[in-house]
Symmetry: C2
Subunit: 350 residues, 2 copies
């Protein structure tokens, strides 16, 4: 925590975000979902997807992109599959419903697969897969949008660096949550570097002229992780989200055939019901064994601890639940602007 | 092609493999599936999963691990999900059925999800996802087994480097097929380097003492791709395959609690029916656009062409379909041993 950061407790921060969302015109239960997601991200140290995003949500509302009262419509439904038009609703709302409905289907037929079109960003997709894991299922989620990442071998954006998440429950341990951008680092992390006034590591991004940069203000294009593998993952997931929804968000941009330029994403929220295949407690015990086995391995030089997926974020969660969430100056400024906009009081300490 | 390699046409090679599988006791239609898979791999340049594997299949047969006449049993079935015990059958056989059955379910309810336990390796999982793509679906496949890869931060194996594949159909272009190990390179590639008598690149593997090696004969543990991301993918896919099937193949090994030491894998074969969501021709046209858009991007320095998933393998396929499949000396030796074993004639030119 740098000296210009302030700590605030999760409850106050959540209450404040709830107020903002309510003033943005969201119904109470939806405002609650939005606040819960943003603060969950901060608690887990995923500040890139935390409360600093409120500034962009207000901008999306002003631009007419974010619909505070979406009329979510079912475009197609089978016992296993659901395809919904989110009517430009807040991602926290549309993706939460999407995962809940997927879980309902999974309970009946073993798997539920919700495709969501026309939604704002669900942000940290691990939030939704954790919901599934806590209900004794394996959660799978992804969300993709417009090009902002270089395909491997290119020097201009040609894919979105959307995230993919898979979460599984354990019994003694907390759920293991894989949640990763298909780029080396999520763009939100670049926003956080701006807020903190620090440079970004080499290898994260290129500037507008396709030159490597460590200045977060100059970063325009993300680099794929693992070379062609991260790039290929982003390619097939654009097919499984935007193209499957009939709303491709990459190809038309690259071919200059884009008609509707309004911001949106297409998301996948899926759940696999463990009880359909095996005993849930047995599954969870085996995940505990896997966690214990992996963490007990001899460590590579310079490594203090081997982490399982999501564990570093669990550590931050515990620390921040106790000591509060540190907010850098840039983020506090965004919250202050939001408070002024809606004539709200800032939470104590900010 | 090095000077000690021989070229053989795909048809003769397939016929020969078919004969071997038949002599191994497989029914004709299963021998055909096995031969088709191995030669498909060689045609696409994935020699790591090609005909050189016949030696290990014969070994598995002799050890009583491979069952040439499996009695595949349904353990659980819903309209969307199938869970089968493959009875130690050849992966080419059990995974082909698994994907066919997943496609049948997908046609009815939009998605089909087959979990296969107790199978021999399906080898190149892209073979099965391509089946789905050619039928107007998105194919998803993965297969995982015992630890042979370092989790990120460890210096001993603690995860399997199993592959994940997703394939999507296009219209003008061929299907895009992502098919990647969760390690930097598949172990089969190390086998091929042995056969060719060439070193492996740095960063692929460690030797038995956990030191980096470029000698394929010393390679014991694979390194995960993309750092912790490849490692975390392998972690959650062990949960989605072995642990979901009630047959964990990693945790018990790491905790020295392994009881049944016989070789086997657990696989996932899934299909998403495009027509359930959107018009198939429209989907395929959008994939064509994405391919054209990505390939038309300005190229990074030193890059001659931007490839979409599976495209490098398509190129090799075309060349080898025309000019024959090059087999290095080590592979020819394996085929000769198999021919001797079953008193078969080697195909002409070998």
């Amino acid at each position: 925590m740098t000296s210009n950061e302030k700590r605030i407790d999760a409850k106050s921060l959540k209450q404040f975000m709830n107020q903002i969302f309510t003033h943005m015109g969201l119904p109470p239960q939806d405002a609650e979902k939005g606040a819960d997601l943003l603060v969950w991200c901060n608690l887990r140290g995923v500040d890139s997807h935390g409360v600093q995003r409120i500034a962009s949500f207000i901008r999306l509302l002003d631009d007419g992109n974010l619909n505070p009262n979406p009329n979510i419509q079912i475009l197609k439904e089978t016992p296993a599959v659901l395809f919904i038009d989110a009517d430009r609703g807040l991602g926290a709302v549309t993706a939460t419903y999407g995962m809940e409905w997927a879980m309902e289907k999974a309970r009946n037929v073993g798997i539920g697969w919700t495709l969501i079109t026309n939604t704002m960003t669900p942000l940290a997709v691990g939030y939704y897969t954790e919901m599934a894991a806590r209900a004794g299922m394996v959660g799978i989620a992804a969300t993709f949008s417009r090009p902002n990442m270089l395909p491997y071998g290119a020097r201009a954006p040609g894919l979105h660096n959307g995230p993919i998440s898979i979460a599984v429950p354990a019994q003694v341990h907390r759920p293991a949550i894989l949640d990763m951008a298909t780029s080396v680092a999520a763009f939100g992390k670049i926003e956080v570097a701006k807020d903190r006034g620090v440079p970004i590591p080499e290898g994260w991004a290129l500037d507008k002229d396709s030159n490597p940069t460590t200045d977060p203000h100059q970063a325009r294009m993300a680099l794929p992780f693992g070379g062609y593998k991260g790039s290929d993952l982003a390619f097939v997931f654009e097919c499984l989200t935007g193209i499957l929804a009939g709303d491709p968000l990459v190809g038309p941009v690259l071919l200059n055939r884009q008609r509707d330029r309004r911001y949106r994403q297409n998301s996948l929220m899926a759940a696999v019901d463990i009880a359909t295949f095996t005993d849930v407690a047995r599954f969870e015990g085996h995940v505990d064994d896997l966690i214990d086995g992996v963490k007990g391995l001899p460590k590579a030089e310079g490594i203090d601890e081997i982490f399982i997926p999501g564990e570093p974020e669990d550590r931050v969660y515990d620390e921040r639940s106790q000591r509060g969430i540190p907010l850098p100056e840039g983020t506090v400024r965004k919250l202050r602007q939001a408070a002024e906009r809606f004539d709200l009081e800032l939470p104590e300490g900010l």
